[in-house]
């Protein structure tokens, strides 16, 4: 008897799990707000890492493992990261077999480029739209299983909450059709959350509009632990926009792009000067803080604005077109200037959450029967993610979850009573009825903008304890004001406002473990930087922040980090890693 599984989210992680489960003959119900082919994974530009060593550089999965742990500033549990790096080459080969049009060498082999935080050509890429290509390949394979009847897609449906039995185990979900607003309870043996990051908590970010973090927040409010929420990656190079910050991929620097600004009316390549060993290819947190320093402390922003240049105008335009045309087109379209001729103007933007739902080494959360994979979980990136490791961790997480979900389904077959589904459905219907009656003076979208502004200002690149405290006070104020929202749309069909009001509440709940997690962590590590505590403090903080929801706010506990494989050492990018420190065990 095959198991029955729910997957929420149809990006790279969710589609991988769906494909793997269906291949084993399991039944999958796949939920996605947007048609899965439009998931946020399409935005990943640069590539996917795997140490296949085709360039004679002596690369290996162990060096990839060391780069990832070191780049993550020794906050990631090491055994699962090692397993991911070991699996990476076979993951790339599978995509290759599924027809992803990766760039090729003259011999017809996969080509690899360099990315930040490594000295090796380790990143396989398909032009500058790698995420899109990988997502499409998985979309095609899952469609194959859909036509065979093993996968049922619920596109246009949004998960509202988990259905849990008396002992708290997950027994399925309640979801809403975003068109008809019909709510239904869906039972399953296991449930996987693969809903990506919480970009919208920061208002404008490089993330897509579906990335509200709402489903993750619902799990957190139902008892799932949220881990390392304070670790938010700010990407150094993004275009500023009214609606979002558009990513300019790290591959631009991988292909030779240089970051600079004017100093004493001459171009100053400050990354190359500050970090001679890695230059423009320092990891994202390092580049981001350097840009902040140059712009805010040294007042050297381009035209006095918070902007610096990212320059490819010295590179061969044909080579650029072959390898990064997709990225340059985005800049050209949205800025109206050709970056092959004029340097791009960029500034850092919220990009990725290293933190997420706590999971064990089998991708299972602390809620039995609830699994997670992709950006929505915390496992693989420690305090800072290396470029091109995100696509890898999505795929790897989906792979690891599949046998664990099947085993769980086999050993937990007892039919849950139907009353738990009716109760949860009733609870959700009542909560929507309340939202439909909201008639106060506040506008939900305007309130969201305020949330984004304060989170971006105080909880991204540089963090001060007094401002974090103010931010949390503000979050409490926003929660009060949420109650005074007035609905402009009372319609019962395709009402996006009513859905957003609910998502906004979940964003506010999720913003608290992020902000308070940062407040608690009095050190600087990876993407988390406090000028008042500029050093990493392994004695007190080499541990995972674990936030459990309560009606009085998050309750924190800490879990030691498994550093059994690579001994922690200081993280520096001004000198060669191998020259300064001992190698991985």
């Amino acid at each position: 008897m095959p198991g029955h599984h729910i997957i929420v989210g149809g990006g790279l992680a969710g589609l991988t799990a769906a494909m793997k489960l269906a291949e084993q003959g399991e039944q999958v119900d796949l939920f996605s707000i947007v048609p899965v082919k439009r998931s946020h994974s399409v935005c990943a530009q640069g590539g996917i890492n795997g140490a296949v060593n085709t360039k004679g550089e002596g690369d290996s999965p162990m060096i990839h493992f060391d780069d990832t742990i070191y780049g993550g500033d020794f906050l990631a549990h090491q055994p699962p990261v090692k397993a991911m790096c070991e699996a990476a080459p076979s993951i790339i080969y599978l995509f290759d077999r599924m027809g992803v049009m990766f760039n090729r060498t003259p011999e017809g082999l996969l080509d690899f480029r360099r990315f930040g935080g490594t000295k090796h050509h380790r990143t396989a890429f398909a032009g500058a739209t790698t995420g899109q290509q990988l997502l499409y390949a998985l979309d095609e394979q899952v469609r194959r299983y859909e036509s065979a009847g093993l996968v049922r897609k619920f596109e246009g449906w949004e998960m509202l909450s988990l259905v849990q039995d008396e002992s708290g185990d997950c027994r399925g979900i309640v979801a809403i059709d975003t068109r008809s607003l019909e709510m239904r309870a869906f039972p399953a043996d296991t449930t996987m959350i693969a809903t990506g990051g919480p970009g919208l908590v920061f208002g404008r970010s490089t993330q897509s509009l579906v990335n509200t973090g709402s489903a993750v927040s619902a799990c957190y409010q139902a008892g799932a632990t949220y881990a390392n929420g304070e670790f938010i990656q700010v990407h150094p190079t993004a275009m500023q926009g009214e609606d979002k910050y558009r990513l300019i991929s790290e591959s631009i620097r991988g292909e030779g792009g240089r970051v600079w600004t004017y100093r004493e009316s001459k171009p100053w390549y400050f990354l190359e000067e500050m970090y001679p060993a890695y230059g423009n290819l320092v990891p994202r947190d390092i580049a981001t803080r350097a840009i902040h320093k140059v712009v805010f402390d040294m007042k050297l922003g381009v035209d006095g604005q918070p902007l610096v240049y990212l320059d490819v105008s010295h590179l061969d335009p044909e080579e650029l077109n072959r390898k990064v045309a997709g990225v340059l087109e985005i800049y050209e379209k949205f800025a109206g200037q050709d970056p092959r001729k004029v340097p791009m103007k960029i500034f850092p933007a919220m990009h990725y959450s290293m933190g997420g739902l706590w999971i064990d080494y089998n991708q299972q959360t602390n809620v039995p029967g609830l699994f997670a994979a992709g950006e929505c979980e915390f496992q693989y990136h420690g305090a800072n993610r290396l470029g091109a490791n995100s696509l890898l961790s999505c795929m790897h997480g989906g792979n690891i979850a599949e046998p664990a979900m099947i085993n769980y389904a086999k050993s937990h077959k007892s039919a849950a009573s139907s009353t738990i589904f009716d109760q949860e459905l009733k609870r959700q219907r009542e909560s929507f009825d309340k939202i439909f009656k909201m008639s106060g003076p506040e506008n939900a979208f305007a309130l969201w903008r305020e949330l984004g502004e304060i989170m971006t200002e105080n909880v991204t690149v540089v963090r001060y304890n007094d401002r974090l405290k103010t931010t949390d006070d503000k979050l409490l104020e926003f929660k009060e004001r949420w109650g005074r929202i007035g609905l402009n749309d009372k319609g019962k069909w395709a009402n996006q406002e009513v859905l957003f009001v609910r998502q906004l509440w979940n964003m506010l709940e999720l913003a608290r473990p992020v902000t308070l997690g940062a407040l608690n962590r009095n050190e600087s590590r990876g993407a988390h930087f406090k000028p008042d505590f500029p050093e990493r403090d392994d004695a007190n903080f080499m541990k995972t922040t674990m936030a459990a929801w309560s009606s009085d706010g998050p309750r924190f506990s800490w879990e030691p980090v498994d550093v059994s494989l690579i001994k922690p050492r200081p993280r520096r990018y001004d000198v060669e890693k191998s020259a300064s420190e001992p190698k991985a065990a």
Partner: protein
């Protein structure tokens, strides 16, 4: 100096079966605005030019980088993604309408599921043996990859269907996008092996023979995919298969 503003004239429709109507919104002009950021501005203050408070405009959008295909709409009569239509140089009033070749869900949000159904019908996938580790895929020459890559960027946005005179309520023509995808699969050494399956779909009702050669698809494709090349090639492949099937019977 009075604040510069921009006027959006939006075609609205409350349900799939209700009558459409137009509403105008006037919003502060910012050169870096695009259609989506202007619609977001309206959400924060959904008041028409005439001062009437209304439901915010419903629209489909996600990545805002022109890679997901969601926010495809008709702007001043031309189909494209709203996110990449900058306010600068647009002038006013700007007419924004939902695509007309797909059922409207509400306002600017349309149902494009027929495009995904067509991909299923066309077997647009590489039939791998399994996901277990079988080593690298087949070698591919760089020029083959570069050619195929052009087609692999299709985001199923629907521009080519919207612009096609053959896609209408009297025809079952599946449109250029799926033909491009069927062609893409046949560029891959493994995908070539089941070319016939895809050609059967291309020869069925609404297939490649229904193309009227208007060539609008290639004109409007935001990713500049050489769709007419695919249609031509798939057309030739189906003719050959038709003849072959005739003699093999």
């Amino acid at each position: 100096m009075p604040e510069q503003t921009q006027v959006l004239r939006i075609k609205r429709q409350e349900t799939p079966n209700s009558e459409p109507y137009y509403e105008e919104f006037e919003i502060p002009y910012l050169p870096h605005h695009n259609i989506i950021s202007m619609l977001m501005e309206i959400r924060r203050n959904p008041v028409t030019r005439q001062g009437k408070r209304v439901a915010p405009v419903v629209f489909d959008a996600n990545c805002l980088e022109e890679v997901c295909g969601s926010c495809t709409m008709v702007i001043n009569g031309r189909v494209r993604q709203g996110c990449s239509q900058l306010a600068e140089g647009l002038g006013g009033p700007v007419t924004v309408e939902p695509m007309s070749k797909f059922p409207v869900i509400r306002d600017l949000w349309v149902d494009r599921s027929k495009m995904f159904e067509a991909l299923m019908k066309a077997h647009a996938w590489i039939p791998i043996d399994g996901t277990y580790d079988l080593g690298p895929g087949p070698r591919i020459a760089p020029h083959v990859q570069e050619f195929a890559y052009l087609f692999s960027r299709c985001m199923t946005c629907g521009c080519c269907l919207e612009a096609c005179p053959q896609v209408n309520s009297h025809s079952k023509f599946m449109g250029a996008a799926v033909i491009g995808q069927a062609y893409l699969m046949s560029q891959h050494p493994t995908g070539k092996m089941n070319l016939d399956e895809r050609l059967d779909a291309m020869m069925s009702e609404g297939g490649v023979a229904d193309c009227g050669n208007a060539q609008n698809c290639v004109e409007v494709c935001p990713k500049e995919i050489p769709l007419t090349t695919a249609i031509g090639a798939v057309g030739r492949q189906t003719s050959i298969k038709w003849l072959r099937d005739l003699f093999m019977k």
